[in-house]
C-alpha cells in the first residue's frame, strides 16, 4: 500500500496521507483513454474556444449526459450507464491546454479514478479565438467567463455527439 506524504513548511499546513481509494483498487486493469477535440462558443460573441476531452473507456466510448442533479452532474457511458465525473483543467498565462502538467493530469485522473476532463485554450491562446490579454484572471468577463463557457458546454452535453 502506497502512502504519500507532503512535507509542510509550517506546522499548521496540511499533511496529506492517503492510500489508494476503493475506486483505484477496483481498477486493476488499466483502462484505455479516449480523446476528442471539441470547439464551443465563449461568452464573447463570435469567439470560439478549442479544447480536448479525455475520458477513460472500459466499455463504450459514447458519452451521454447524466440526468443527475446539476450539482453532481456527470458524464455517463451509454453502454453501462455508469456515471463518469468530469473536471476542467485550466492553463496559466501564455500557456495552452497542453502546457504545464495538464495532459498528464487528464490521463491520471481518467485512468486512476475514472474522472473525465476538458482542457481548453483560453481566449487569445492556443487554437482559441479572441485577444490575448494580461490581467483579467479573476474578473467576471475575463478568464472566469471562459471557465463558465466550458462548464456550460459540458452541461449542455453537445460533446456527446458521435461523428
Amino acid at each position: 500500500m502506497k502512502i504519500f506524504t507532503f512535507q509542510s513548511i509550517s506546522p499548521h499546513l496540511m499533511r496529506l496521507h492517503y492510500a489508494p481509494t476503493a475506486a483505484m483498487a477496483g481498477n486493476a486493469t488499466p483502462r484505455a483513454l479516449l480523446r476528442r477535440r471539441v470547439e464551443f462558443p465563449s461568452k464573447e460573441k463570435g469567439v470560439n474556444l478549442v479544447g480536448e476531452l479525455v475520458w477513460p473507456s472500459d466499455e463504450r466510448s459514447s458519452l451521454v449526459q447524466s440526468s443527475m442533479p446539476a450539482t453532481s452532474s456527470t458524464l455517463t457511458t451509454s453502454a453501462s450507464e455508469k456515471t463518469l465525473p468530469v473536471s476542467v483543467l485550466a492553463h496559466g498565462l501564455a500557456d495552452d491546454r497542453d502546457s504545464f502538467l495538464l495532459p498528464r493530469l487528464a490521463e491520471e485522473l481518467a485512468l486512476r479514478i475514472g474522472v473525465a476532463s476538458l482542457r481548453f485554450d483560453f481566449r487569445g491562446n492556443g487554437e482559441s479565438g479572441g485577444a490575448f490579454r494580461f490581467g483579467n484572471a479573476a474578473t467576471r468577463d475575463g478568464d472566469p467567463a471562459d471557465l463558465e463557457a466550458a462548464v456550460e458546454f459540458l452541461l449542455r452535453g453537445e460533446h456527446e455527439e458521435e461523428p
Binding site: V88, D98, L105, V115
Partner: protein
C-alpha cells in the same frame, strides 16, 4: 462537474469562478451591474435560505488552485516581468496614442508560438484592482478548495496558498458562518512554479488525484 483545476493565472480564475457561485461577481463589471447584483443578492437572502449554490447549475464542488497568485496588486511582480518603467510606459501610451496598449512579442503556449499582443492600461488596471481576498470571502460554504504551491516558486510567492486559505476562513467568519470544508493547503517542498522536476510533478499529481478521489467518495 466535480472539479475545476487552474494553474497560475487560472488558479486565481477558478477561485473567482467559485466565488461567483456564492453570489460574488468578481470585480470589473460596470457599477450599475454590481449594484443590481447586490440588490438581487440582498433580495434573495431575505426571501430564501442562504443556501443558494445548490440551485446554481454552474456550481462545482472541488476547486484546485495550483500556484495561483493572491496579491495581484503587487507592482514589483509586474515590474519584474515587464521592467520597472512599465507603469509609465503604459500610462504614456494611453495618453498619447489612445490606449491601444504597449506591444510585446512573446513565445507562448506548449509550442512556443510567436504571439504579438498589447498590454493595455485597462488590463493593467484590472490586474492591480483584482482583490482575491474579497473573492475568497464570497466562496460558497459548500466549496472544497485545495491550494497547492511549490516552496521554490520564483514567479508567484509561495505564501499565496496560505493567504487564500486565510482569506476564505476570515471571509466566512465575517459573515458569521463557517465553511463546511476548511480550505486545504499543500506545500510541495522544493517545487518551482511549473513543478518542473519529475518527482515534484509526481507530488502534485498525487495531491490532485487524492483530493478529487476523496471528494468523489463523500
Amino acid at each position: 462537474m466535480v472539479a475545476l483545476l487552474g494553474h497560475s493565472k487560472a488558479g486565481s480564475a477558478v477561485v473567482s469562478y467559485a466565488a461567483a457561485r456564492g453570489g460574488g461577481g468578481g470585480r470589473g463589471g460596470s457599477k450599475e451591474e454590481d449594484e443590481k447584483k447586490k440588490k438581487d443578492v440582498d433580495g434573495e437572502e431575505e426571501e430564501k435560505e442562504p443556501e443558494t449554490t445548490a440551485a446554481d447549475p454552474l456550481f462545482v464542488p472541488l476547486i484546485i488552485n495550483v500556484a495561483g497568485r493572491f496579491d495581484h496588486a503587487d507592482r514589483a511582480a509586474i515590474a519584474s516581468r515587464f521592467g520597472d518603467d512599465i507603469f509609465s510606459r503604459v500610462r504614456e501610451e494611453a495618453e498619447d496614442q489612445g490606449a491601444g496598449g504597449v506591444p510585446f512579442t512573446w513565445r507562448v503556449g506548449s509550442r512556443k508560438a510567436k504571439k504579438e499582443w498589447r498590454l493595455t492600461a485597462a488590463d493593467l488596471a484590472d490586474r492591480l484592482g483584482t482583490d482575491m481576498g474579497a473573492l475568497c470571502g464570497q466562496l460558497p460554504a459548500e466549496t472544497r478548495i485545495l491550494c497547492i504551491h511549490g516552496t521554490e516558486d520564483a514567479t508567484v510567492p509561495p505564501s499565496a496558498a496560505v493567504r487564500y486559505r486565510e482569506a476564505a476562513v476570515e471571509g466566512a467568519e465575517a459573515k458569521s458562518r463557517s465553511l463546511l470544508f476548511p480550505p486545504r493547503v499543500v506545500m510541495v517542498e522544493g517545487a518551482d512554479h511549473n513543478f518542473t522536476r519529475r518527482e515534484k510533478a509526481d507530488e502534485l499529481v498525487e495531491a490532485v488525484v487524492a483530493f478529487v478521489a476523496e471528494g468523489l467518495r463523500e
